[in-house]
Symmetry: C2
Subunit: 264 residues, 2 copies
C-alpha cells in the first residue's frame, strides 16, 4: 500500500549534511500561500538532526520559532522579536538553552474560548503545608482539587494527574511576566499525582505562552493566580504536563507545557 | 498588602546585564532537592531579556530546555541530548530558530491518561476538497468534527475552534517521526474556525512532544493519524493551539502546541 519510491515529503524535507551545517531547499509541493508550510520546515530541521552523526536517541521535543518576516505576504509581521539564550555555569557547558519571542501586541478581535475554572476564593482554602524544598516555601499553594497525596500507599489504579490550585508568592508580590513564567513551572510533577508517591523527576523542556501583555497585566493588579495542570501520558521514562494560569477575575494569562523525565 | 521592599523572588532572578551576556546566580531561597527550581531559572532568563536594551515588546513565548545533568542528584539523567538549530536563507538572517531534545527512552511504568477520541474509520469519511495551497494537497484530511466553513457568513457568536480529523499523506507514506512533526503543524489556523473565515495568519512558535520512540512507531505500522486540535484564547493579535496525534490503534503519539499571529 505505501509508496515504495522516494515520497515527495522526503524530497521536500531533504537535507545535505555537512558537519554541523546542512543545506536544504523549500519545496513547491509544500508551499503555502505566503511561504513554505511550517510543518515541512520543522520536519526538515528534525531530519537534519536525525541524520546527524552525533545524534543519540529519538526525538523527544522540538520547538521551532518562525523568525523572519513571511516572504511574500501582504501582512508580514515585523512586530515579533526572537531570542536564543544559552545559560552556562562555571565552564563552558550549556546548562540551559532557551528561545523566546517578544511581541508588540496590537489590539484585535478578542475571544476567550476556554472556560474559567470554578473555584472557591483563595481565602477560604488552607495553605499547603510547607515541604522541605526551599522553593516550595516561597509559594502559597492552596489546592482546590487534586491535593497531593505522596504517601506511596498502594493504589488500585493510577491517580488522576489533574490539579486545580491557587498560587501566590508566600510573601505577596504583584504578578508580573516574571512570576507568571516561574509559576508556570511551579506545579508538582504530574507523575507524583498519578503514582501517589514522590519519584525521581526532572523537567526537560518547558514552554510558556503569554496571553497578556505587560499593560494588561498591570491592569489586573493581582498577587495570585488560579492554576490548573494535567497530563495525558507517561511512557518510556517521559511524561507531559499542560497548565493554565488565570487571573482571579477570569482572564487566561498564560498557558504552559512541559515534558519531564521520571524514573518508575 | 504587597511587599514594598525588594522581593526575594527579585533577588533570586536578578541578573547583571552586559551587552549580550548576563550574569546571575542560583538562589538558596528557590532551591529544589536536586538543583535550582526550574521556574526561577526560567524567570531569570526572561528577566535578562526584558532588561535587554534592544528588547521590543512583551514576552509572547519562552521555551527553556534544561540540558545539564542535575547537579547533585542520584538520578542524573544523561540520556538526553540537546540541540540548537538556526535556519538561514540566502544571507545571514536567521529565518527559523529551533531547539530540540533527543532521548534514549528506557522502559518504564506506562500510563495513558488521555482518552482516545472516538471517530468513525478513515475509509467512511470523504476527503476534504483540495484547496489552492500546494501543501494542503499533499495531505488527505478527513474531518470527523469541526469541518472548516470559511465562507465568512455572518456569525452570531464565535465558532468552536475544536476539530477532529484523520490526517494521512495524499500519497500514502508510513508515519515516522518526520511526518508526525509535519502533521503537528498541519491543522488549519484555529482562528479560521472561530471566525468562520480565512484571515491573515502565521505560526510564530511551535512545540511538539513525542510520546513514542522510533521503535514503537515502526511497530504501529500506520500511514495516518487521528488528530484533534483546539484553542483557548485569541487576544491582541495572537492565539494559541493545542493538538494531539493518535495512532488508529489508540496510542497517543505526539502532542503539539503553538502560538500564532492573526489579523482581525
Amino acid at each position: 500500500m505505501l509508496a515504495r519510491t522516494q515520497h515527495l515529503f522526503d524530497d521536500a524535507t531533504r537535507v545535505t549534511a555537512g558537519d554541523s551545517r546542512w543545506q536544504g531547499r523549500t519545496s513547491e509541493d509544500y508551499w503555502a500561500f505566503v511561504g513554505p508550510f511550517g510543518g515541512a520546515t520543522a520536519a526538515t530541521i528534525l531530519r537534519a538532526l536525525i541524520d546527524h552523526p552525533q545524534r543519540a536517541g529519538d526525538p523527544l521535543a522540538l520547538t521551532v520559532n518562525f523568525c523572519a518576516p513571511i516572504a511574500q505576504g501582504a501582512f508580514a509581521n515585523r512586530s515579533t522579536q526572537h531570542w536564543s539564550v544559552e545559560l552556562t555555569q562555571g565552564g563552558t557547558e550549556v546548562a540551559t538553552l532557551a528561545t523566546a519571542v517578544f511581541a508588540e501586541r496590537r489590539p484585535s478581535w478578542s475571544h476567550q474560548q476556554a472556560e474559567f475554572p470554578k473555584a472557591p476564593p483563595f481565602e477560604q482554602i488552607l495553605p499547603y503545608p510547607k515541604v522541605a524544598a526551599s522553593w516550595v516555601k516561597q509559594y502559597d499553594f492552596r489546592f482546590v482539587e487534586g491535593d497531593p497525596d505522596f504517601s506511596g500507599a498502594a493504589q488500585a489504579a493510577p491517580g488522576n494527574a489533574f490539579s486545580k490550585l491557587w498560587i501566590g508568592d508566600r510573601i505577596p508580590r504583584e504578578i508580573d511576566m516574571l512570576s507568571l513564567m516561574s509559576m508556570s513551572d511551579a506545579f508538582f510533577g504530574r507523575v507524583f499525582h498519578a503514582r501517589g508517591e514522590l519519584v525521581p523527576f526532572g523537567t526537560v523542556s518547558l514552554t510558556t505562552y503569554f496571553h497578556t501583555d505587560a499593560e494588561d497585566l498591570v491592569a489586573e493588579d493581582i498577587s495570585r493566580v488560579l492554576a490548573v495542570a494535567d497530563a495525558k501520558i507517561f511512557h518510556k521514562s517521559y511524561g507531559d504536563q499542560s497548565g493554565e494560569l488565570w487571573s482571579p477575575q477570569g482572564r487566561l494569562l498564560a498557558t504552559t507545557h512541559q515534558i519531564a523525565y521520571f524514573k518508575v
